[in-house]
Symmetry: C2
């Protein structure tokens, strides 16, 4: 049984040795015994110099296949390290969708240079794909698909596939177009494989198909693949229904993973990293995290300002200060919960802007119950401590009541803010994930202090204060 991980572990030293001693036979042998994905994983670990040798020496088609599996930033380094001739060979052979992903990530002059290496037909195609807006479905698309006419027999279709299928990314779906090239049906290869050879395509068609508009955002493609989950490719059309290309599910799986990572990082208050955690340099890490941490810190400085307003009250009743972290962090936690739930619901397409009143109603209700729950625990604690040790003096009940009411107010407030932030951000055209939990928490820390001291003033004025 093939076990890629074990094999790559064993063969890695051999690969390094073969490259360093220019042992072409050894290199060929290793390439023949492993899947492209395993080779890509090994190449990923090589020093840049050895990577360059690898891509210079391996046959062109194999080189391109492996090159396409690498991360875009590694592709960039390699293109800079190999000969121009090799660069031209690789980028001319790349799948159009992978090529777009590379070209769009490069600085403009590098993109221009690479485009100049392309053969006229490929260049025109690459240019057309780049003309679609960033993060649109058009940018994910490959224009290599199989289109047939509805009067063809199954036999003719299979024959056509045999003769024209070689350079297509997938043969799992076949597209039926009319004389003008407009998409009229999508048929799984399954139907052709299971039908008698003499049946005509028309008799297989059900004219039910799902097409993605090329200029729509890529999120729509993710949602469509999730809904129509038996499809491994979906056709892409322009406004008039002309078939432009297809999007394949492998790109979607990566996109989905990428978006979840971004959301999780943002939820943790980190800008999205360009590289994986261990591949990011420490300085990149400091920068990405430092920026947000500083913004949060500056916001959080308002807590000191807010507390400054109540300095007199604190000095009269130091006991009040003891509960500040407890109260504001409970509000922050409740807010984080609400924000992460709503954020994910937005990402999954479960929640839209028109649901805002439903959400608000739910969250007020949930927030009040949660606030009462925590408030009761706080009330209980102060009561017990007072009964046992007399910790909170003669006004213990008023203090307990202050804490109780403050918790209800701050937790409900946190819940509402946490749930509304992502929806309102999304509505404003901003990224809802930017309403990350730390932002919500910081906002609630500051407002929570104000709520707490105002309740204290109301209840304790003339007694403790």
């Amino acid at each position: 049984m093939a076990n890629g991980n074990l094999q790559t572990e064993l063969l890695y030293p051999d690969l390094e040795a073969a490259l360093e001693s220019a042992d072409m036979e050894g290199l060929q042998e290793i390439c023949a015994s492993l899947a492209a994905e395993d080779l890509a994983e090994m190449v990923n670990r090589l020093e840049l110099l050895n990577q360059a040798i690898f891509f210079e020496k391996v046959p062109e088609d194999k080189a391109t296949e492996i090159f396409q599996l690498l991360d875009v930033n590694i592709q960039e380094d390699i293109l800079n390290a190999v000969s121009n001739q090799r660069v031209a060979a690789i980028i001319n052979e790349m799948d159009p969708d992978n090529r777009t992903a590379l070209l769009e990530s490069l600085p403009q002059n590098a993109t221009r240079q690479l485009l100049s290496f392309l053969k006229p037909r490929e260049r025109k195609q690459a240019q057309r794909l780049l003309d679609f807006p960033k993060d649109s479905i058009g940018r994910l698309m490959t224009p290599d698909f199989l289109a047939i006419k509805q009067d063809w027999t199954v036999e003719r279709v299979l024959d056509f596939i045999r003769r024209n299928g070689e350079d297509k990314e997938t043969l799992n779906d076949i597209y039926v177009v009319d004389d003008k090239g407009r998409l009229i049906d999508e048929i799984g290869i399954r139907e052709f494989l299971l039908s008698p050879l003499e049946r005509v395509t028309q008799d297989i068609m059900d004219r039910q198909f799902v097409a993605l508009p090329a200029d729509h955002p890529e999120e729509e493609a993710i949602l469509a693949f999730k809904k129509y989950s038996s499809r491994t490719a979906l056709p892409v059309v322009d406004e008039e229904g002309y078939l432009l290309g297809i999007v394949t599910i492998d790109d979607i799986l990566h996109l989905e993973e990428q978006e979840a990572t971004e959301d999780i990082h943002k939820l943790g208050g980190v800008g999205a990293l360009d590289d994986s955690y261990l591949d990011s340099s420490m300085m990149a890490m400091v920068k990405k995290r430092g920026v947000w941490l500083t913004v949060l810190f500056v916001g959080e400085m308002l807590t000191a300002t807010a507390m400054g307003f109540f300095e007199k009250e604190i000095s009269h009743a130091v006991i009040l200060a003891l509960f500040i972290p407890l109260i504001i962090s409970s509000g922050g936690n409740a807010g984080s919960q609400a924000a992460s739930l709503v954020l994910r619901a937005i990402a999954l397409g479960e929640v839209q802007f028109q649901d805002i009143w439903t959400i608000l109603r739910r969250e007020i209700f949930v927030g009040l119950i949660l606030g009462c729950l925590l408030g009761l625990i706080g009330l209980l604690r102060i009561t017990v401590m007072s009964a046992l040790f007399g910790t909170y003096g003669e006004h213990w009940f008023l203090i307990a009541l202050t804490v109780y009411l403050s918790l209800i107010g701050v937790v409900a407030w946190g819940t509402i803010i946490g749930s509304l932030f992502p929806i309102l951000l999304k509505r404003a055209g901003a990224d809802p994930a930017a309403s990350s939990a730390p932002f919500v928490a910081t906002f609630i820390d500051v407002t929570g202090i104000v709520i707490y001291f105002n309740i204290a003033l109301l209840l304790l004025k003339g007694k403790l204060l």
Copy 2:
């Protein structure tokens, strides 16, 4: 061009009307004009009574196709609402992998009852799949695949597919087994479609394949599909290499989405929801969130205890209390960042336990720099406020120094704890996502107070304190 969402919107009232007036012809018409996924979306919105009518009246194969697309908890309700005869028809026709997902989610006696409805062959198969451990690859598997022998010609293979492919979930990959049923190769349908009819399978084989062990955890399947991203199905084998079934990519896409949702919810300090956000009842919501919020609250009560130890110091220097929220929340934010980065890196398989020292080294470095950065801003603020308004009295510089050093200590501490928690939890066999940001923040709130006041005592003893 087909636009599923618009069509379902338009046809939904018709569907309701057809069901309520028992208009079978209208029902048939609607079913014929929409994709199964669109019908499933509409059925999802129906009242349970109408759902029951729908599944009672629609032809068996269509009913099963749509039934399989619904969420498991809706499937349960429907099975309870339709006749036993219909239940038997549907669960006998379901794809084995979807059936396992339903059976494993039911209470034991319901599972037993459903199993009794199955035909002997199906029951044996269902039982065998349920025998695999929960969350294992075996539970994701469907045993309906196409296996061929290596001496068959392409023509024979295509013929075999035409005669036996009907009930197979995918025809995209064909599996070559030896005489005993051991997997010896996996070949994309593409190869057969592109090869001359008289070629023998042996000549197409490259004996390179990736097989998933049935008893391994499902996460391995996700990682394998991400790595071998051109595959839409992967074979599953037992320890001796016998081919048991296949896992298809549609299940993986859902699994990946589910796992990301769980991680995001846990990161926000919420137990994973069973239903989507809007489908969860408010009481379920209160329960899921209340439990964690209470645990966090009880933990956070230690902040009041910790501050209680320093009550005398606070009453001497109320000014010190003003900076508590700022300092502890900065530590918490730094911790959330580190935790979410490491958590995601673990989920993506980028980081293992043996990387712990690398991570520790990086995070100490990053934490100290970030702490210095925030500390400097704090120092600057106190200096400026002192110079302008004399806010902090004669000992302003010592206060500033206390805040500066505390921020370095607490931020570095938060960063280290936030990064180590997920790795250590994972190592201990627990879910790393349980080290959610709020937990890390609560832990750091309490310890941060201790750090802050100890530094204050050290610097300010005999001056302010």
